[in-house]
C-alpha cells in the first residue's frame, strides 16, 4: 500500500511551496547542510512517500511525548509530524488493548521493511512484568516491532541509554533499545526530554537521503550532538576569564558568570540546547541560572552530584578531547 508523497499531502493541506521551502531552509540549517542544498532537499523530500511510523512508549514518564507533541498550534517544525502516518502510539491513540495492537500489526504487515520505529522509554529485562502493554512485555513488543522496521529512532535518554529507570540500583533491569536490537540502524536522540526539532530533522534526513545522518560514537546525530553545551554557551567567555558564580545568590551569579563551579555539566554534555533552546526558543537551563545537568549523556543521574564541579578549572582546561575537539576530524 503506497502512501502519498509529501508534496501531495502538503498541497491537500493548503501548505504552499514557499512555506515548504522555508521549512527546508530551516531544517537544512539544523542539519548543518549548506543552504545551496535547500532546492535539492525540497525536491527529494517532496517526492518522498508519507512514512508509516510505529511509536512504542515503554518505561517512560511521557515527558518525551509531551515535549514532542506539545500542546500549542502546529508550527513550522512540526510540519513533518503532521504528515507522517502515525499508525501506533498507545498513549495518544483512541484505540486501546487488542484493537490498538491490531493496528500496530496491520501497519507492520502493510509497510514491511519500510516503516520507522520510534521508541521512548527504557526496556525492563530484569523483570519484564514491570512494564507490559496489552499483556505483552516491552522487550517482546520491541523485538516483534523491530523485526521488519527500516530503522529505529530512540527518543530520549531512557530509550537511548536506559535513563532514570536504569539509575542505581536499577530495580527493573532497565536497558536501552540498542542493548536489545543490534541488527538495525538505530539513531539515539537523547535528552530528558530530547529537543523535538532534532527528531523532525532526523526524520527529514531519513526521508530525503534514505539513511540516518552522520552519528557520534553514541549513535547520536552529529548535527545536534557534535558540540558540547559549553562550546556554544553564551557564558563561555566568563569560563575563559575564570569568572565563576560560587553560589546561587552571589555577585557572580547576579552578573551571569559561568556556572562551572556550581556543577555545570555543560563541558561534557553534547546537545544543542544552547542554540535551539526551549519553551518556544525562550531560553535553556543555564540561561535561567541553573547548571546543565548533563541529561543527554549516559548515566547522568549516577555520575556525581548535580552541584559538584567537574574538577578544578586548571585541570579541566588542560584536559584533552573535550567539547568540539572531541569530534574534530571524524566523519571526514
Amino acid at each position: 500500500m503506497a502512501l502519498p508523497t509529501l508534496n501531495k499531502q502538503l498541497q491537500a493541506s493548503g501548505i504552499s511551496r514557499r512555506t515548504f521551502l522555508k521549512f527546508c531552509a530551516t531544517t537544512a540549517s539544523l542539519l548543518a547542510l549548506p543552504q545551496s542544498a535547500v532546492a535539492d532537499l525540497a525536491t527529494a523530500l517532496g517526492n518522498a512517500r508519507r512514512p508509516s511510523v510505529i511509536w512504542l512508549p515503554f518505561q517512560e514518564c511521557t515527558g518525551c511525548t509531551e515535549a514532542i507533541l506539545r500542546s500549542h498550534a502546529p508550527t513550522l517544525e512540526s510540519l513533518i509530524f503532521d504528515h507522517i502516518s502515525l499508525d501506533y502510539q498507545h498513549t495518544i491513540m483512541a484505540a486501546a488493548g487488542e484493537q490498538a495492537e491490531d493496528a500496530r500489526r496491520a501497519a507492520m504487515n502493510a509497510h514491511k521493511g519500510q516503516y520507522l520505529l520510534l521508541v521512548d522509554g527504557s526496556v525492563p529485562v530484569g523483570n519484564p512484568g514491570y512494564s507490559t502493554i496489552s499483556g505483552m512485555s516491552n522487550v517482546d513488543m520491541l523485538r516483534e516491532s523491530a523485526k521488519d522496521a527500516a530503522g529505529i529512532i530512540a527518543i530520549g535518554t531512557c530509550a537511548s541509554f536506559g535513563g532514570i529507570p536504569k539509575a542505581n540500583p536499577n530495580p527493573t533491569g532497565a536497558v536501552a533499545v540498542g542493548d536489545i536490537i543490534t541488527d538495525k540502524p538505530i539513531v539515539n536522540i537523547s535528552g530528558c526530554p530530547p529537543l523535538p526539532i532534532a527528531i523532525t530533522a532526523v526524520l527529514v534526513h531519513y526521508l530525503t537521503f534514505k539513511r540516518f545522518p552522520d552519528l557520534d560514537e553514541l549513535q547520536r546525530p552529529l548535527a545536534f550532538f557534535g558540540e558540547s553545551i559549553h562550546d556554544r554557551c553564551y557564558r563561555r567567555p566568563f569560563f575563559e576569564q575564570r569568572k565563576f558564580a560560587k553560589s546561587f545568590d552571589d555577585e557572580g551569579a547576579k552578573n551571569g558568570w559561568c556556572l562551572f563551579e556550581l556543577g555545570c555539566k555543560g563541558p561534557e554534555t553534547f546537545n544543542a540546547c544552547a542554540t535551539v533552546k526551549w519553551n518556544q526558543g525562550t531560553s535553556f537551563p543555564i540561561e535561567s541560572g541553573h547548571p546543565c545537568l548533563g541529561c543527554s549523556e549516559p548515566d547522568f543521574w549516577d555520575k556525581s552530584s548535580f552541584y559538584q564541579a567537574l574538577g578544578p578549572w586548571e585541570w579541566y582546561k588542560s584536559k584533552p578531547g573535550k567539547g568540539a575537539q572531541k569530534h574534530a576530524g571524524k566523519n571526514s
Binding site: F23, S29, G281
Partner: protein
C-alpha cells in the same frame, strides 16, 4: 561608525566573530558583482553572542526594501543599507526564530513566486472567474 559598533560590546560578551563575518560579507558582495555568484551565510551556525548579533544587524541597517511573508509564521526580509546584502529571519507561529541568514544576492529565493503555487493559482483564478461570471449572469437574469 564601524569602530564604534565593533567596540560597543563588553569583552565578556565577545566571540570575536563579527569582524571576520563582515569581511566575508564584503568578499561575497564583490563576488556577486564580478561573477554573479550568490552567497548565503547561516547565522545560527556561527558562534555569535546576542549582543554581537545585534551589533551585526545594526551595522547592516535598513535599506529600501522590507518584505513580510506569512508562511506558517512570519518571515522578514530586509535589504540592508548595502544593496545586495539581505537579512532574512524565519519565525514560526510562536514567533520563535527558526532561521536567520544573510543573503548576498539580487533577490532572495523565498520572495519569488513558486511554479507549483502558480499552477494552483491558475486553477483557482479560472474557477473564481467562472463563479464570478455565473454570478453576473444570474444578476442580469434577475434584472430582466
Amino acid at each position: 561608525m564601524t569602530e564604534e559598533l565593533i567596540f560597543m560590546t563588553s569583552n565578556a560578551e565577545k566571540t570575536g566573530n563579527v569582524m571576520p563575518l563582515l569581511h566575508q560579507i564584503r568578499h561575497a558582495l564583490s563576488q556577486l558583482i564580478e561573477r554573479q555568484e550568490q552567497t548565503t551565510i547561516d547565522l545560527r551556525r556561527l558562534p555569535l553572542s546576542a549582543s554581537e548579533e545585534a551589533q551585526l544587524e545594526a551595522f547592516l541597517g535598513h535599506g529600501e526594501v522590507k518584505a513580510d511573508i506569512q508562511a506558517l509564521g512570519d518571515t522578514v526580509l530586509i535589504e540592508s543599507r548595502y544593496a545586495g546584502v539581505w537579512l532574512e529571519i524565519h519565525y514560526n507561529e510562536d514567533v520563535e526564530i527558526m532561521g536567520k541568514y544573510v543573503h548576498i544576492c539580487t533577490c532572495p529565493p523565498i520572495i519569488k513566486s513558486q511554479p507549483e503555487d502558480m499552477v494552483l493559482s491558475l486553477s483557482n483564478i479560472v474557477s473564481d472567474i467562472h463563479s464570478l461570471s455565473h454570478q453576473s449572469s444570474d444578476e442580469t437574469a434577475k434584472e430582466d
